[in-house]
Amino acid sequence: MKRFIFIMILICILVTPLLAEKITLWTAPNMYQEQFWKIILEEWKQVRPDIEVEWKIIPASGSSEEAILTAIVTDKAPDLCTNIFSGFAAQLIEADQLVALNTLEGFEELVNTRKANEGIKGWDFSGKYYVFPIYSNPMLFWWREDILTEAGFDSPPRTYSEVYELAEKFCIPKETYVIEYLKGRNWWDRWFDFITFYYAASDGKPYIDVERNRAIFNNDAGIAVVEFGQKLFDEGWTSTDMMDNPLYTGHLAGQLMGPWSIPEAQNMFPEIFPDKIVMSYPPVPDDYPADKPIKTFADTKGMVMFKNSKNKEAAWEFMKWVYSNPEHDKLWFEITGLPPVRSDLNTNELFKTIIEENPMLELYAKAVPNSVPPALISKTTEVQDIMTTHLTEPIYLVDKSAEEIIKNCISRINKELF
């Protein structure tokens, strides 16, 4: 008898894992986000041992978008995936790969509990919602306060002329630079340089007309941004190839940063951050009205469910569980510093303590309403590759007027979009 019971128990132990449902979750390759998911998944294990979540970092040697596309091709797509931006969602929807979340039970309830009614508006794809927005990252300028003070600035430069003024006082050729104008050569870098500057200069005007599939930054704002860059490069006030972490080593006065830089700065450069850093919106052309608030770009990412998922219900259970508990958002905000898409971010007591402890986060949280998301086009990669080759690189490589550069770039983008 004893033996029989023993065998029964053994069988149970062996079979239980087979009965448990299994879903896969992919999250962004980012140290702090990974920390968050580690804790959340531990908690999930306690709450729902019946649904096993296999967690993986998006295996990206290039961009996460490439990795996800490759996974779809090879039939290895996960059930759930974070880090999806709107343009990529558009591409996936075109390829019919995503589940419309609003067809699932309890969607509206989840949106309400998450206080995401406002935030989800930007994710409307002809009346359907395929992406659940997680966070919104506005871009802000970080300045070295000590450098500003030494140059006689009480507050960060607001206009291009003020940036030039600072540059004249601070820049030493080949050693120190005033701001970082270009981020890099990857297509996504254009969000964090040209498009951010353009949104600031144009009061948040779109750069692509989504209805007509046309690029529309051939205006005063676009020209001003390009001329700003040309001036900075001509004078040697910026460079494409600075030292690593120039802001922290004192070789750079100002740099555009997303909130994801906060935890890294805290951990790696505690002697600089936050004491010697002040934040501001991106600089604007001189004729920008002095009292008008400045807009900036926000990188918004969300979670999606793939059509090929074999366990849609379990996946949906998991998603609902993660985003219906504000404590999770608190934990997220605390660890990653990325503002969750919630309209009560600045009012809810839960987040108040975090914001009070870290005034830098408060600025980002407050910038969320002033920020504009990227254009909703499925060819984001192609368009921004063109921007790299025909807009931002010519700024320092080609001796042409800003108008000519913009015209050439726009005609190439239009050809691609057409």
């Binding site: 596309l69 050569r185 460079s239 030292m243 080759t389």
Partner: protein, 298 residues
């Protein structure tokens, strides 16, 4: 007797076939079948997900009218213009130096060969840091001569930098090829020339160079093949920029086959690879036609 011999012959053939059959099967799959796919893919539009669609010569037309194709071709030619003369000249000199060395030969040869076995990813990262604006080389230049070289942010400099890196890696190997060529030249030829009163230079142009012809052709072929297949260095260091001027065939193939497969896809990319192969064959053919000579070692 005769019967026995033919039986032996048959046994021999059977044994032979048994030994080579696994190879034939393997190559039938990974060479033959794969090439078949390549041939098929050229004529279809496919995104790996939905069934392929027959499009005839559409892919050829699209590749040949894609301005990036011509840019990549230009880039490759431009790269070869730096890479081939630099590394060829350096390798010939190196081969001759190897030949002359007595005491430190092994160490010198090994040093150059160690460069050759450096890993592609590792050495790309190292050179990226070494040549960066704030890296040690530019720091040295700036401290002593008051200027820096923006290696990877100017199109021509970026191509040159990659050519120099690849030369660093390969001239030891090429030099060894020339050394083998030099060793094959009979010493008696030089002695005879000396008796005739030929100068060193004359000996070099009349004896050494002509007799090095096979090595020269071999190195040129290797260099051309490398130029068309280069991937890791531009992919990791420049990402194809600035102004797409370090964008090479292999990156172009990779991007279209695996990154942009929703718009162009493997069919389009197969056509690129066939055209690139055809062009590199033509280059090799031209080299052979124009400089290869029968060498007679008297």
């Amino acid at each position: 007797m005769k019967q026995k011999k033919s039986k032996f012959k048959r046994m021999n053939a059977i044994k032979g076939w048994t030994l080579v059959t696994p190879y034939i099967i393997h190559q039938a799959i990974f060479f033959g079948y794969a090439l078949g796919w390549l041939g098929y893919l050229m004529f279809v539009k496919w995104n790996y997900l939905t069934p392929p669609k027959w499009v005839g010569f559409d892919n050829f037309i699209r590749v040949l009218t894609d301005e990036i194709f011509w840019l990549v071709l230009l880039n490759t030619a431009n790269f070869m213009l730096y890479f081939i003369p630099i590394s060829l000249l350096a390798a010939i000199l190196l081969g001759m130096a190897f030949n002359k060395l007595k005491y430190v030969k092994t160490f010198v040869v090994l040093s150059f060969l160690v460069a050759n076995i450096s890993s592609g990813v590792g050495y790309s990262i190292v050179f990226q840091k070494l040549l960066s604006e704030s890296g040690p080389i530019n720091r040295f230049l700036f401290d002593h001569f008051d200027f820096t070289i923006p290696w990877f942010s100017r199109p021509q400099l970026a191509l040159l930098a990659i050519a120099l890196m690849v030369s660093w890696k390969f001239i030891g190997y090429y030099g060894l090829i020339f050394l083998a060529g030099l060793n094959a030249i009979p010493k008696s030829l030089y002695e005879a020339a000396k008796l005739d009163g030929a100068t060193q230079w004359k000996q070099f142009t009349k004896i050494t160079l002509p007799l090095l012809n096979p090595s020269l052709v071999m190195v040129l072929v290797l260099q051309i093949t490398l130029s068309f297949g280069i991937f890791t260095e531009p992919y990791l260091i420049t990402g194809g920029g600035p102004m797409k001027r370090t964008y090479m065939f292999m990156m172009y193939i990779y991007d279209n086959a695996f990154r942009k497969f929703t718009s162009t896809g493997p069919g389009f990319a197969s056509v690129i690879s066939i055209l690139a192969a055809a062009i590199s064959f033509s280059c090799i053919f031209l080299v052979r036609k124009s400089i290869e000579k029968e060498v007679n070692l008297v």
